[in-house]
Amino acid sequence: MTSLPSQPHVRLTPPTPAQVLGLVTGPLAFALALWIEIPDLGPAGQRMLAIFLLAILLWVTEAIPLYATAVLVILLEVLMLSDQALIGGLVDPPSAASWFATLANPVIILFLGGFLIADGAHKFGLDRNLAAVMLRPFAGSARRSVLGLMLITAFLSMFVSNTATAATMFAVVIPILAALPAGAARTGVALAIPVAANVGGIGTPVGSPPNAIALGALEAQGQGLSFVGWMALAMPLMLVVLFFAWWFLTRRYVPKGLPLALRLTAEFDRSPAAVLFYLIAGATVLLWLTEPFHGIASSTVGFIPVVALLATQVMSGEDLRRLQWPVLWLVAGGIALGAGIGQSGLDAWLIGLVDWERLPLGLLLLLLVAIALGLSTVISNSATANLLVPLALSLAIGLPIDPTAVGVMVALACSLAMALPISTPPNAVAYATGEVPTRAMVLSGLAIGGFGALLLAFLMPRVWGALGLL
């Protein structure tokens, strides 16, 4: 009997102490928020507060998977805040369909297209071949090579998930690491990849989930941003932080004059399917970049490759199945949470809790960026954005600043958190190579993330204003 019965063997792991904490305090806070009489908060706001507290505790403790919390948020909004709510008493509640629709929010559609293109790029080896071609001008010294690696990683990461980019680049880099002397130089090269993947993710709306969460929340407020509009806001910071990171990592870890031969061969797939893919992906990116000329929304553009790739059979149902649905649903949960906080009136109530006007705007922005950076250092960037973007946007109502700036700032701050192996999946991969001691990651993460955060809080709003972007 060679064909052994292969039943799926699901091993349920016992919860960690942190998870137990979440499982106990989450429902408790939920029940308490519903039970206590809260002045100035209507029934809808009170129900939303209960959902929000539950979501905070579950996302922070990861008591249940992040995407499970996301769908729980949507379900609870249907059961408690819709026209199909189990208990009535709501004034003009949104339809249940509108809560379910967050799963197909335009931003989710945009990501669907982004994911399919990214998966196709990997399927046809485009990511690796592009990396090989783009690395050529940087061959020679190790310092130059690191710059090349970082620029390519960041470029790929603008269109491909940070995790997939890091996986692709480490597959390229691990053999290179072995050719370097053990120690600092290897640490520097191994750190360059996750740093560039994390930072590159801020460059476009499809680069990283926090961007989508911010975009979705802004769109719900009628403050939509085009694809290039986002790039104009985020790319200056991305490039400055990237060059700073290169300078920091090479001065610290990579000796001057250390040779490093990067010989990667590019063999572009020239099969008809691959060529079709290049055309469709290229056209999509071109349409994204030219939105101001044709006016087709980026989410609509994102749906074109979905249709074109499936219709031409360049991508199949199997590729569709393998998409990162958990990430899409996590983003949808964040959008649903933000919409709920806005529609239930919870936002106005939350803002009323603190006398924000007595805090200087600069300090407030710094605080916001610091909280986003700190929280996403220890929990998922996307979960952090899910919790903080709606809060920050409600806060922005009462501030003399464009809400778009605030939403984008929080999203970017989430991506700058990279001080621990658990901060982001690319960091976890770098740590797993065994070439990066935790101390080195903490140091570079604090230096690079801190540098980016300070620029973000103090300089970027002025730059955006001066450039007339907001």
Partner: protein, 161 residues
């Protein structure tokens, strides 16, 4: 949780030679040895009790008492050790035993003695990677012992959660 390799070999010099050739893995995975079926069971029990997972068995065919092939067949029948990759490292398995190992134990690889150390290390890396992929384990804690390119494909699917 660590991955564990079990060397099942009754001759001490051969056992040590296998250990020595796999020394690069010692820092990354748990390597245990047993000289017969009885000790193998105890070692596997220890691995399980420590929360580690038996990923690979390198078994000689000729053992005192129960043969290596019979041990492999028993491991394949047991729910807890079924997933472990199996390699027969032997110089003198006859055709019938080899057929039984392949058909009844679902043998994954056959290594003839004497082996080439480099080829053995490559084979162990490949088999550990197969184990991690087949069981959809998180490859990162074991990355240095795996074929990085294939293991990273699992990471890629995870996305930016």
């Amino acid at each position: 949780m660590r991955l564990a390799i079990l060397i099942l070999e009754d001759e001490p010099p051969v056992r040590e030679a296998l250990r020595r050739d796999l020394a690069v893995f010692a820092r990354l995975v748990r390597i245990e040895a047993a000289e017969d079926a009885e000790t193998a069971r105890e070692v596997i029990e220890e691995i399980r009790a420590a929360g580690d997972r038996l990923a690979l068995v390198l078994a000689d065919h000729r053992l005192p008492g129960t043969s290596g092939v019979d041990v492999l067949i028993a491991l394949r029948a047991d729910e807890d050790t079924r997933a472990a990759r199996q390699v027969l490292v032997t110089g003198q398995a006859d055709q019938d035993d080899t057929i039984r190992a392949i058909n009844d134990a679902g043998l994954d690889r056959y290594v003839a003695k004497p082996w080439s150390p480099d080829a053995l290390r490559a084979l162990v890396r490949e088999q550990l990677t197969e184990y991690v992929l087949a069981n959809r384990l998180d490859p990162l804690p074991h990355l240095a012992a795996l074929d990085a390119e294939r293991a990273l494909a699992l990471v890629r699917e995870r996305g930016d959660l």
